[in-house]
Subunit: 244 residues, 2 copies
DNA sequence: TAAATAGTGTCTCTAAGACAATATAGA
DNA sequence: TCTATATTGTCTTAGAGACACTATTTA
C-alpha cells in the first residue's frame, strides 16, 4: 500500500478481510513425501481434510501465527517449532475461496524430520500424516496450495541446501539422497550424488570421530551435519525437466 | 485457514485487517534498472516516495487489484497491462508496518519494456522512474520490498525466460544481454551469451525475412521474439555467487 | 580509413552422467 | 559364504569460460 488511505477512510466501513495462515508441513517417511493434514470438525467442509492453519491475531505477524499453529498442530515445543524451516509460499486471495467471508490466506511450507504422530490439538477433529500424493480432495483451495508447495520445495532443493531440513541433526548421505529422490520422484546415482554433495563447500560437514550408524545390514554409513552454506553453486539439477 | 472459524465468530468483532497490494514495477533504461515510484501526497510519509499500490477491493483478487493499480499508475491501457508479466513476490505482515491500522500487503513484481514517463494518476502527487539503486529511503517497509523484488528478479533470470519481459516484442540479443547485465550488475561475454540463448530451445525465435535494426553505428543486429519456453534447462547462471 | 557493434569458431576446463570395482557390515 | 549397503575411482560427455577472428555498418 502506498497511495494513502482514501480521505475519510474508516477501517470499519468496509466488509472486513480476515487473514489466515495455511501450512503445508512436509516430512519424508518410508521413502514417501508426507504432509500433515487435519480433519475439519465444523462446516464448511466438515469431515474433509485440510491443511492446518488459523487466523492471524491482531498483534501477530503471519510468520508468528504460522509458528504458533505449527506448534499447536504438531505438538512440538515452542523452541523446536521456532527452529524449523518455514518458508512463505504465496498468498491466496480469490474472493470466493471461503464461503463464509472474505479470507486472505498466507501459505507457508515447513520441512520437518520424521516426527511422531501429531496430537491433533486445537479445534481440529483429528490430525495425521498423509502420503502427499494420495490425499483426497482437500477443503477450500488446499489442493492447489499443496501442489504449489510441493513444486516449490522441489525447485528449492535444486539450488539450496534445504534438503537437510528434512533430516535429523545427524544424518547419512543415503538419507539425504532419499530426500531428493522422494521429493523429486526420481532415482539418483549414488556415487554421483555423493560427489556433488561432498564437493559443494558447506553443504554438509562430517561428524568427527567417525561415528557410524547402522541402517540394518550393509556397511555402516558415515554421519554428517548440515553445513553453513545455504545456497548451492552450481545447483544440483533434477535429471529431467523442471517447473516454474 | 482450515481449522474452522471459532464458534460464534463474528467477522466484525475484531479490529479488521486491510489488505493492499504493492507493486515493484521494473524496467531497464539507459543500462540501469529503474523502478516506478509515486510521491505520497498525504500523511503518513507525506512527501516520501513509495511503491505504487492500493487497497484490494471487496470483490477483487490481489492480482486483479495489482493489474488495476498498474494500469492506473503507468497509464497503460487495460489490455496492455493485462498482458504484462506480474509475479507475486511475498506478503508483508508486520503488525506495525503501517502506523494507521493493521495492513497486510501482497507485493508483486512487474517487468515492463522501457515505457514513457508515467502520468501519475490516482491519488499520488507524482510518479516517475527512479534508478533502482539510488532511491532514497522509501515510505513504510518499501525499501525492504524493493530489495526483495530485485533479488527475486535476479534469481528468476537464471532459470526462466523472464528477461524477454523487459524487452519490446522484437529485440536484439544485445538488448537481451543488457537486461541480464543490468539486473545482475555484471558484464557477460557476448559470444557465450549468444550461444547459450540460441542453443536453449524456445528461449528466443528469430524474426523471419531477416529484418534488422540499427543501434546507431555498427553492424545491424538480427531481431528475435520471445519463444514458447518459460524455463531454462540448464539455467543461465550468474558468474559469481547467488542469493536467496 | 577507423571505430563500433554483430556474429563465428575454437580451445580449455569444470562438472555431471555412467558405471566398474572395492569395503564393510549382517544373515 | 551371500547379500546389502557404503565408498572410491575412472572414463566419457555436455556445456560454460576465455578469447581470437570475421562481418557489416556509420563517421
Amino acid at each position: 500500500m502506498s497511495t494513502g488511505v482514501p480521505e475519510g477512510y474508516d477501517p470499519y466501513a468496509f466488509e472486513p478481510f480476515a487473514v489466515t495462515v495455511d501450512l503445508a508441513v512436509f516430512t519424508v517417511r518410508d521413502g514417501r513425501l508426507h504432509v500433515l493434514l487435519v480433519e475439519r470438525g465444523a462446516d464448511p467442509y466438515k469431515g474433509h481434510w485440510a491443511l492446518p492453519g488459523g487466523f492471524v491475531l491482531p498483534r501477530e505477524s503471519a510468520e508468528t501465527a504460522a509458528r504458533r499453529e505449527l506448534a499447536e498442530e504438531t505438538g512440538l515445543t515452542g523452541g523446536t517449532a521456532g527452529a524449523l524451516h518455514l518458508e512463505q509460499l504465496r498468498t491466496y486471495t480469490d474472493p470466493d475461496r471461503d464461503p463464509r467471508m472474505r479470507v486472505v490466506s498466507v501459505a507457508y511450507a515447513a520441512l520437518v524430520p520424521d516426527l511422531p504422530e501429531p496430537r491433533g490439538g486445537g479445534d481440529a477433529a483429528g490430525a495425521r500424516w498423509w502420503d502427499a500424493g494420495r490425499t483426497g480432495p482437500l477443503a477450500f483451495d488446499h489442493d492447489r496450495i499443496l501442489a504449489d508447495a510441493h513444486d516449490r520445495i522441489g525447485a528449492k532443493l535444486e539450488y539450496s541446501c534445504l534438503a537437510t531440513a528434512f533430516c535429523p541433526p545427524e544424518f547419512t548421505l543415503g538419507e539425504l539422497q532419499q530426500v531428493y529422490e522422494t521429493v523429486w520422484g526420481v532415482e539418483l546415482d549414488r556415487p554421483n550424488f555423493r560427489r556433488k554433495v561432498l564437493t559443494t563447500p558447506g553443504f554438509v560437514q562430517a561428524v568427527e570421530g567417525s561415528p557410524r550408524r547402522t541402517g540394518g545390514r550393509g556397511k555402516p554409513a558415515a554421519l554428517y551435519r548440515a553445513g553453513a552454506a545455504t545456497a548451492l553453486h552450481p545447483p544440483l539439477l533434477r535429471p529431467e525437466g523442471r517447473s516454474t
